[in-house]
């Protein structure tokens, strides 16, 4: 297959399907052993400076915000990140821990563009490769399949392609051009789920986002969970297991772990806290004041939740629509 065109964006995680296989064989144990630990231990044990990491879903919806704040507290830097990101990546950029970004969208939807990202990218502090939203997921799907790349028909003909690390080739079957996306194997994937057992068999209610792809594409997988349930419960409904235990390396019990984002069926997003954060982002000084108060100023997720206020959190549960 002849390469017709190559994107000039940098490839931030090398394509290495054989390395991935070797890693999985050596490190993904089938032993049913408890992986429950504190957020401090999960982060310090499994995330290293310079790692290529990603969060699922994204900052305002079912996202491990508690783990993002813990990474910021431990100041694990020079991170390479992959993101549909909103809030969670902004927290790490504000903490000056991110060097490069495989990016598709950073913003706050109804609240507009991220000021933190703007400052970081416009000043040249962070290097960005561009991708479409589907591309980031498909790159993880390629890794989940143990393949070096996946052929798709997105990004073709655009600058999104030009500033990515994808390649265009002539498809040997039809003769048409297709876009080859390099597989992305994450050093660490971080996913927030509704419930799991102590071994890491995870259930997610509602839409699955890209959790199935990320779980299979991550060398190390940290799960934060609203609730830890018995393996007996898991075995009653095995069809509900979205991520089986052997992909999982660490489990952190994190009630309201997605705050200020929502957790479908359990709690609604905290619009007031989201607005406070977006207002604080407007300049660097108020951003750091916010970080001092809500990230560095607390020891862990429990203290953070106390700071937000238990009554307020209960209210977010009360106004959340069930099924």
């Amino acid at each position: 297959m002849e390469v017709v065109e190559s994107g000039i964006g940098e490839l931030f995680c090398p394509v290495d399907p054989n390395g991935q296989r070797d890693y999985f064989r050596k490190n993904k144990s089938m032993a049913l052993k408890s992986k429950v630990m504190s957020e401090h231990d999960a982060v310090s044990k499994f995330i290293k400076p310079g790692d290529y990491i990603g969060f699922e879903l994204y900052g305002s919806v079912r996202c491990s915000m508690s783990i993002a704040r813990e990474i910021a507290r431990q100041k694990i830097g020079n991170l390479r990140m992959v993101g549909q990101g909103i809030n969670e990546i902004d927290v790490l950029i504000a903490a000056d821990l991110v060097d490069v970004l495989d990016q598709t969208y950073i913003g706050y939807e109804v609240h507009g563009i991220s000021s933190i990202l703007r400052r970081a990218v416009e000043s040249g502090r962070i290097k960005v490769s561009e991708w479409s939203n589907a591309a980031l997921v498909w790159r993880m799907r390629a890794a989940a399949m143990g393949q070096p790349f996946i052929a798709v028909r997105s990004m073709l003909g655009t600058d999104t392609f030009k500033y990515s690390a994808a390649k265009v080739v002539k498809d040997p079957f039809t003769g048409n051009k297709v876009c080859l996306l390099p597989a992305s194997v994450l050093d660490v994937g971080i996913i927030h789920v509704h419930r799991c057992d102590e071994f890491g068999n995870c259930q997610i209610d509602g839409i699955k986002g890209f959790a199935p792809e990320m779980a299979k594409a991550s060398k190390k997988l940290i799960i934060s969970t609203e609730e830890i349930i018995s393996t007996d419960e898991i075995r009653k409904y095995p069809d509900r297991t979205v991520i089986p235990y052997f992909f999982v390396d660490a489990i952190v019990h994190a009630p309201f772990g997605s705050h200020p984002g929502e957790m479908n069926y359990i709690y609604w997003r905290d619009e007031e806290s989201i607005s406070d954060w977006i207002t604080a982002q407007k300049n660097e000084e108020t951003t750091q004041e916010y970080m001092n108060k809500y990230v560095y100023g607390v020891k862990n997720n429990d203290e953070y939740l106390d700071l937000i206020g238990r009554d307020k959190l209960q209210n977010l549960k009360d106004i959340c629509k069930g099924r």
């Binding site: 598709t104 939807e109 703007r118 479409s132 798709v152 003909g157 655009t158 999104t160 265009v168 986002g209």
Partner: protein, 254 residues
């Protein structure tokens, strides 16, 4: 006397009138979602809405604030995944896609990534998100954006989402699915289509009270004009009532 309405309400009503029933629409938060909801209530009851992160066929009782939020699959027909939804679009199952952006050219090439140069842009915008995928794979992509000479320009700083690229045949040459591409551009001034032959923007209808000169003044490139040039009806009392009382009860957008 006609009912009063705000600029968003006009865009929502115009967008709601563009779609055919028994088809599918890939919608995001904001105006597209309101247009789809209004269309379902008044014109196209079996327009199936799909949200990027997996919500398929929701009732949209409350308006979502996030494309992955729970309201995108509240009482939906399926709660799937982003890969499932992108597969649908790639396989040709999604008729309409909605996009908007900071800059667009006469072929519908759209910029939501940077103003200025890449790298070290003057302004960093959010990036593609699903826009590139929508504009690549949906059969008919509808643009909703305000029209002025800063946004409607001869050459966009960055092509985030493909329109007809450099003109006729260019999408196919690039490998994009034949028969897909920009369909309508809905603005505060008019509704624009794309000329079959040249793939350039062609004004189909003027909004109430807007003149041809105003459209020309607010466009940075030469437009084609449909003959006859139609007039868009203002939002009807029925559209406004359903929009305000049922679609957007919490007054998030109206």
């Amino acid at each position: 006397m006609a009912d009063e309405y705000n600029p968003n309400e006009l865009l929502i009503c115009l967008a709601a009138r563009q779609m055919e029933d028994n088809t599918s629409a890939f919608v995001g938060t904001g105006i597209p979602m309101l247009a789809a909801s209004l269309a379902r209530k008044l014109y196209t009851p079996d327009l199936m809405t799909v949200f990027e992160f997996g919500g398929v066929g929701p009732i949209l009782e409350d308006l979502p604030l996030a494309v992955g939020g729970s309201r995108t699959f509240y009482r939906a027909l399926a709660a799937l995944s982003i890969a499932d939804v992108m597969d649908m679009a790639a396989c040709g199952l999604i008729e309409y896609g909605f996009v908007g952006g900071a800059q667009v050219d006469m072929y519908g090439n759209l910029n939501t990534t940077v103003i200025g140069e890449q790298p070290n842009p003057k302004v960093r915008l959010p990036g593609s998100g699903g826009a590139n995928d929508i504009g690549s794979a949906c059969w008919r992509t509808i643009y909703i954006m305000p029209q002025d000479t800063k946004k409607f320009i001869p050459k966009v700083d960055f092509i985030t989402t493909p329109g007809y690229l450099s003109g006729p045949g260019a999408r196919e040459d690039a490998g994009l699915p034949p028969g897909s591409g920009p369909y309508r551009v809905i603005t505060n001034l008019c509704v624009i289509g794309f000329d079959d032959e040249t793939k350039r923007m062609k004004v189909l209808a003027l909004n109430p009270g807007i003149t041809k000169e105003q459209v020309i003044e607010n466009t940075g490139f030469e437009l084609l004009w449909a003959e006859p040039l139609e007039q868009n009806e203002p939002p009807t009392s029925e559209e406004l009532r359903v929009l305000r009382d049922e679609v957007d009860k919490d007054k998030l957008y109206t």
